[in-house]
Amino acid sequence: MPRSHKEDKGSKYRKERLDRGIKARSDSIFALSSYREALYLVFPRAVIIIGLLILPLVLDEYWTKVLVITCVIAILSLSWDFIALSGMLSLGQALFFGVGSYLAGALNHYWGVSPLFSIPLATIVGGALCTILILPVLRLRGIYFAMVTFVLPLIIISIIEMSGVLGGVEGLSALSPIPNLWVTAYFIIFALLAFFFGFRRLMDTDYGLVLKGIRDNDQAVMSGGINIYWYKAQALFIGGAAGAFVGAFMTHHYRFVGLPAFSMDYTILPIACTVVGGTGTFAGAMLGTFILMPLTEFLRAIGSWRVVFYSFLMVIFIIAVPEGIFHFLQRKYHQFERWVKTE
């Protein structure tokens, strides 16, 4: 009786939450027995895939460009969430992005490598390079680890500024473009879907289990005979490669790479998006990005008030749904709620 409890003042009611029958025993184990139940599981996934594939068809050129940036930040959010799930609090998204950007830019500018090869190369080498840069502080935890990852991009900016390598403050321009906006949009959409479902699948394997274990209790993982530093380095490589990938992509999208590639925006935005959407699920990171990024574009109309309004909205989100929007929606989707009499 969802409403009548308000009129009936004599007795007390409390909200009872029950899992739907389809959820058997554990969080990740489902018992499928009909097409309807299969649909229940497929529906949310289908919304993401079909929605993303349709968007470039219905949006105009300007909003398609916004969509591209949103997808880029979404991949950075996924990368942050993945590294966080592996027990590392990273502020290094700008590092990953910048290293990937400059690698692709340099490959294209100095050696004329086409985007077809410079993007994959920058992804792999960028991931490895970032891992090597962070390797010495892998033993640090929490805020100490975060501080080092935060400082690294600033150091690289200074080096490029002072030495003038890689185009110095002017950057490298007139790089090879990606053919047209359609190719650009669908390329990044497919990449986003691949990273999203790939990360989710990876975390469900026993390998992902070890990564989650490291976040939960690293001493217990060590006592289980597992070298946590080796696994952390692997997780950094995977997350770093994802960040380097979008960096390389943006270099060719803008046909330019410069110091803004190490901008703090690429660190702060993904974290804000993930926190608003909900951490630890990847879907939350996606959802948060697809709420906040278009929102910032809408708010362009109100000029400088944008920042005030935007910050205000973020505070509201965090106070109203501290668990994250995705966790809230997931709970509503998987559980019944009803009022039951307590007295």
Partner: protein
């Protein structure tokens, strides 16, 4: 070589001015069941941390099967076959109980040794949980570890150890916080491990239960070994009585 599975020589460790472990030495034969007892703060847990590599000793050495393992990293020592439980149960609170056991099953040691009898990791994990007393057909093995009662968490620790198929198991106050029924249910599991040929070290405050299974006891006080021998004899020693009951002046 092989007659001593573990050889601890003159281990020392101090924190600031406090000597947590001072000059402790002992040998352990294969198949032994050693109990380590002593008042609170006498260095028992530090000794375990020194042996398993979680803390590096100031001096002294630890040999395992004739191999020097002093100051090696914990995961390397675990892979050699020394498993331990923690005094404060260290479960993966966000994972279901059976997934907790899968993490050691993923270690190089187990993956290398997986023969025909070691099946799917999920099944092995649930078998192990059943062995330590998780009801197989109930929801308990699938519950998130953070929601389990303390007694279950302690037994989960033991299951995580057993997953490594270790040759030496060190249990740091496994029984503390367990109910009488839980202790009674866990003792046969430990006795079975002993029968199967594992060497065991047990730190325990519950002396009655410990003396039922241990064939040798070491008593620590202020980081020093003050007695070593069969349980009955050790408790009659003057130094031990003093440490436990206080001197009579």
């Amino acid at each position: 070589m092989a007659d001593h599975i573990l050889k601890v020589q003159a281990l020392k460790k101090s924190y600031g001015g406090v000597q947590a472990v001072f000059d402790v030495s002992f040998d352990l034969k294969e198949g032994d069941f050693l109990g380590i007892i002593g008042p609170n703060g006498s260095g028992k847990s530090t000794l375990v941390n020194l042996i398993t590599g979680f803390v590096k000793p100031d001096s002294g050495s630890v040999f395992y099967m004739g191999k020097d393992i002093t100051g090696k990293r914990p995961y390397k020592i675990a892979n050699l076959g020394i498993a331990r439980t923690f005094q404060m149960a260290k479960a993966f609170h966000e994972l279901p109980a059976f997934k907790n056991v899968i993490i050691p099953l993923f270690s190089p040691r187990v993956r290398k040794s997986r023969g025909g009898q070691y099946g799917e990791r999920d099944d092995v994990a649930i078998d192990l949980l059943e062995e330590v007393g998780f009801e197989r057909d109930s929801a308990v093995p699938f519950k998130t570890a953070g929601n389990l009662p303390h007694g279950y968490l302690k037994r989960l620790e033991l299951a995580r150890c057993m997953a490594l198929r270790p040759d030496l198991i060190i249990m740091d106050e496994l029984f503390s916080g367990m109910s009488m029924a839980e202790v009674a249910g866990t003792l046969p599991v430990i006795e079975k491990l002993k029968v199967e040929g594992a060497t065991l070290i047990m730190i325990e405050h519950r002396l009655k239960e410990l003396f039922r299974v241990a064939n040798r006891v070491i008593v620590l006080n202020y980081g020093q070994k003050i007695a070593d021998g069969p349980p009955g004899e050790v408790m009659e020693t003057e130094a031990v009585k003093k440490a436990y009951l206080g001197s009579e002046e």
